[in-house]
Each structure stands twice: as structure tokens, then as C-alpha cells.
């Protein structure tokens, strides 16, 4: 039997996997029938006779569940992971450089900042054109611009590093 602590948008649930057909959530035992349908990442879940369909996107940190048009951010940890995170102080660390990566392939229209420049949270770092639209990529926090790795007119691949904020 495995015990997980699952957080959905900040709310914690204690989920125990009892066997292939049974799960206990916060001490309440429910009958489940869980299958991957059509193709990943669509899943079908029948829980106590109620049928649900969801998209599940696995990110680096969390799992996103798109269910009935609503997006749920979730984090699933077993007890060991949980203890480790508690020991390390938990929470998201705001130090260390932030690397801006291209969220999609495209063309760099303008780099709006210079190396060594101070930037406020929400300040525009770079304009990337993709799918005929210009997208402003903004700084997630205050900082100083570190290395800039691209210039205007460069084509970039998805997840390519563009610049860093220190």
C-alpha cells in the first residue's frame, strides 16, 4: 500500500492506494476504475460509478489536470519526499539565476534589455514572434540582466535559453 500527499491548488489530500480497484482519500474508501483512453494524456476515471475524463500534463515540478474545463495544479509526494522537502525548508527558492527559455519556437524581434541592466518583476525582457503574433516575455522577478544569448533577428528553438536574470 502506498500513501501519497497530494496537493491540489494549495489544498492537501491524503491519498492511499489500497489495491487496483480501491483508493482511500482523506480516510474515505472509494472504488476506482482508471484507464488511459484514446491516447496519452487523456484518462478516464470511474469513481463510485461517476465517470470523468481528464487531460493530465506532467510538468517538471507539478502535474496539471484539466477536468471539465478547469485546470488543477497538483503536486504528488510520498511520505519520504515530503519529509525531504520539509527538511530543506520547503517553498520555492527565489535565489539563483532565472533562465528565460523560449516557450515556443520563433523569431526574436527585439531584445528589450541590456546586460547588467536592472529589471523589475513584470518588465519586458524580449519580444518573440511566433505564429504571426508578437509575444512579450516578461521577467518573473526583480533582478539584474545577466548574459544575453540571442539577438534581434535570431530564430530560436523551443526551450532554447535566451537570457538570464540574476
Amino acid at each position: 500500500m502506498m500513501i501519497y500527499i497530494t496537493t491540489i491548488d494549495g489544498k492537501e489530500f491524503l491519498v492511499e492506494i489500497i489495491d487496483d480497484r480501491h483508493v482511500s482519500i482523506d480516510g474515505k474508501i472509494v472504488e476506482v476504475d482508471f484507464e488511459s483512453v484514446e491516447s496519452q494524456p487523456i484518462f478516464s476515471l470511474i469513481v463510485d460509478g461517476k465517470s470523468y475524463e481528464a487531460y493530465v500534463y506532467e510538468g517538471e515540478e507539478d502535474i496539471e489536470v484539466l477536468l471539465k474545463g478547469q485546470l488543477y495544479h497538483s503536486r504528488v509526494e510520498d511520505e519520504r519526499e515530503r519529509r525531504l522537502r520539509a527538511a530543506s525548508g520547503g517553498g520555492v527558492v527565489e535565489s539563483g539565476p532565472y533562465h528565460l527559455k523560449a516557450p515556443m519556437p520563433g523569431l526574436v524581434v527585439t531584445v528589450s534589455v541590456e546586460e547588467g541592466q536592472e529589471i523589475k518583476k513584470g518588465g519586458v525582457l524580449l519580444i518573440l514572434e511566433s505564429m504571426k503574433m508578437q509575444n512579450e516575455l516578461k521577467s518573473p522577478r526583480d533582478g539584474v540582466i545577466g548574459r544575453i544569448l540571442v539577438g534581434a533577428g535570431d530564430s530560436v528553438e523551443q526551450r532554447q535559453k535566451l537570457l538570464s536574470v540574476e
Binding site: 501519497y4 492506494i17 483508493v23 496519452q40 484518462f43 474545463g69 478547469q70 488543477y72 504528488v76 504571426k132
Partner: protein, 502 residues
Amino acid sequence: MFTKVLIANRGEIAVRILRACRELGIKTVAVYSEADRQAMHVRYATEAYLLGPAPSSESYLKGDKIIEIALKSGAGAIHPGYGFLAERSDFAQAVEDAGLEFIGPKPSAIAAMGDKAIARETVTKAGVPVVPGTEGTGNLSDEELLTLAPEIGFPLLIKATAGGGGKGMREVTNLEEMPLLLESARRESKSAFGDDNVYLEKLILGARHIEIQVLADKFGNVIHLNERECSLQRRHQKLLEEAPSAFVDEDLRQRMGDVAVKAAEAVEYESAGTIEFLVDKDKSFYFLEMNTRLQVEHPITELVTGVDIVKEQIRIARGRKLSFSQDDIQINGAAIECRINAEDPHNNFMPSTGHISHVVLPTGPGIRVDTGVYTSSEITPYYDSMISKLIVWGETRAQAILRMRRALEEYKVVGVRTNIPFHQAMMDSHPFMGGQFDTRFVEEVFSMEEITEGKETFSEVAAIIATLVQHEQTERAAHVVRRNVRDTSNWKWLSRWERLSK
């Protein structure tokens, strides 16, 4: 009379035109870029020819090459679809000069309506009201525009003279911020259209964007097919359209229709076209622009009027009279179109590219999906982000909304993020249901979070799903490790393997 048509476009609209041709028994010629070798329009056409590399400037915008292919393949006409070469009068002229039929208006009409300043001047002469702005004053410098701006009054819009689709458009609330906005509008316009000329237009607050579809043949018959409500936009890109508009009554419909016909007649229009109007809350309306082409949202008009607009375009180009008179045009029920884009509504509508690994289309009564995307196709950064148009019909507007909800829930696209959740939230929004919205609604009033707030949440179900996915993954990882552990010694394995290979 031509019996073979070249379609100078890609994606859903190329497929739409191909379908009309097929039904009419007309042969088709597709053109494609290297990125579109496997696209639906290439596979559905009678003939297909490569244009060049993926960027549109090296493929779908190569007018000369397209005309050359048309001549070589024996196509008698070219349908430009929308976007790309559809509103380029020089291309329409070149098609005509090559002895081919351009399925659209005459080059002179495209030119007259294509330059927004000339367009406004032309329709004003025909008695059509326009929005105050620097109309017909030619290409003004920044200094001149800054002087004229206070006369028009704030807020106002900077718009690209060669523009469309919201590119090169900026909103100005005061004189101080205007120089910077002029600079960025000119830059965007230059990169999108190769022309950095802009003009100013008064911004009408609380305005709705309502357009009238017109059809005109070569014999001077012009009719209109009523209105489409297109107010739901984001960054001046339409997201959802409906016909008829809940805001338009019979009197307004007639007045707008009459004016639209007048505007089309002013440029001796032929084929299908659309007159866009801004309508303020007092039901006064102003001419915005004329789109001298087939519109993305044409299907909703087709569903409520029963007119096949693309077939009518082909009929007109073949020199036949319109199949309908104004009296034949009625409105039956209501239609809604949702543009399904590869954009993540949970992440500021960021475009999403990738491989479509799976698609489940909604089907059943009253549903139409126009798309060029199928399982295993690629969403590339080269073209726009529209995956498909989901169009529904209902006996009433309320029925259409309920049907759209049902269709959106059935629609599954795997591989990229889509704006389907945005449309689902819109269908649940009270102002939308009540028909109470203007062109600012999506950006300033509507909030997906707010809509979902009052709704029943399924956190518990989400928790079970997330946990089971994680659990299965952990199990699988453990399983892989175990499989590598052999149940017998490696020496035994080696000797067995040696015996086998002897």
C-alpha cells in the same frame, strides 16, 4: 468556363474551398510549402505542386510561382482564400493578365478598399458613415499625427494603413505615451506588411463589432446575407462569432444591410465581401473597413441562411447570376463559431506548437468542424495558430449555446494546448448568455477564474487522478529496474546466448 481551380492557400480554408469544388465537380490544384507536404489540402486535391520552404514569404506569398503553376496545370481560375495573397490587388491583376479568373473582386475594388484611407473616402461619398480619424489624408509624419490627435480626441487607435488582423494597431489614452506607441506600431506594421504608414481613428467605447456579408455578381446584383456578431476579440483577433447578433433588431439589420450594399456598389464589387461596422450602444453604426475576400467566420452565415458562400463565389466567377435575390434571404435559427487556437488560455494565451498525437472531433446533430488539422499533423510556428473552427447551429441562440457546450466537451486535441477551456468558460458566462458584451469584454471584463469560481469544483477527483498517474509512473519505473535483474547468473545467460548464435 473554367473546370479546374487552383487554391492559393493552406489549412482549413484550402480544405473548405476544395470541398466546394469537389461538390461542383471541379478539379482542384493545391500548392504547398515544405512544411505542408502531408497536409489535408495536398491529399484532397486532384493535383498538388510544391511552392518552396516553410516561411510564407518563400511559399504561399509567391504570387508569380502560383500563377505559373496554374498555367502549367491548366487551372482556369485561382481562389486565394483569406490571408496570404487574398487582398493583394497586384496579385489579382497579375492573375487577370495571365488570362485566368480570380475568384474574388476586381483588382480595382481590392485596391480601393485595401488602402483604408481611400476606402473611407470612397464610402463617405456614397453616404456611408465613418469613424472620425485621419481619413484620406495620405501618409502623415509622427509630428503631423501628434498635432491632429487632440482634435480627434482620446482615447484613439493607431492603425496600420496596410493593416488588418490587429497587427500594427495600438491604443493611445494620452498624448504623452503616443510617440512610443507610434514607433512600435510602425515597427510591427513594417515587419508584417512591409509598409510602416499608420493613421489615427477615434476609439468608440462600448462598441460592438458587427459585420454584414455581401454577395455581388458581374451583372450589378448586390445582396446582403445579414449580420455576424464579432465583438468577442482579444488583441483585435476574433475568437468567437455568432449569427444573428442578439443586439441587432430588424430595423437596424435593414439599415446596416442597405448601407453595406451601398458601400459594395461604390467600388463596383463582385464576389463575396464583408463590410465591418462599429455599432455603439445607441445603435448608431460606423463603417470600419471592407474585407474584400472570404471571411474566416463565413460558415455561421451559411448555417443560418442556407447559402453556400464559396459555391456562390465560384458561380459568380463563372459569369453566372446570383442564385438568390434579397427576398430569398431569411434567418433560420442561430449559429455560433468558436475559433479553436493552439494557445494556452491558462498561460496568457501563449501560442503552443507541437505534434498533434490525437484528435477527437465533436460530431452529432447541428455540428460542423472546418479544419485542416488531423492526428499526427504538426502545429508549426510558420503559420497562424488556428487549429479549427467549431461551428454549431441551434433553433434559438440558447439552443446553440447549449449545443456548443456539449461540442466543446467532446472535442479532444492532444499534443498542443488549446483555447477550448476559454470557450467553455465563455459559454458559462452570464453576460455572454445575456448577449451583454462589447469589443472590450474579453480583455477587460471576462475572467476565466471568476466563471469557474462559483462552479462546482472537482478537487477530490483531480487529486485521485493526479495520484494514480504518479503512482503508475513510479510502479513502471520500479518494474523497468526489476526486469533488468536476471533470475539466473550472467554466466548461464552468456552460455545460452552463445548456443543460440551457433
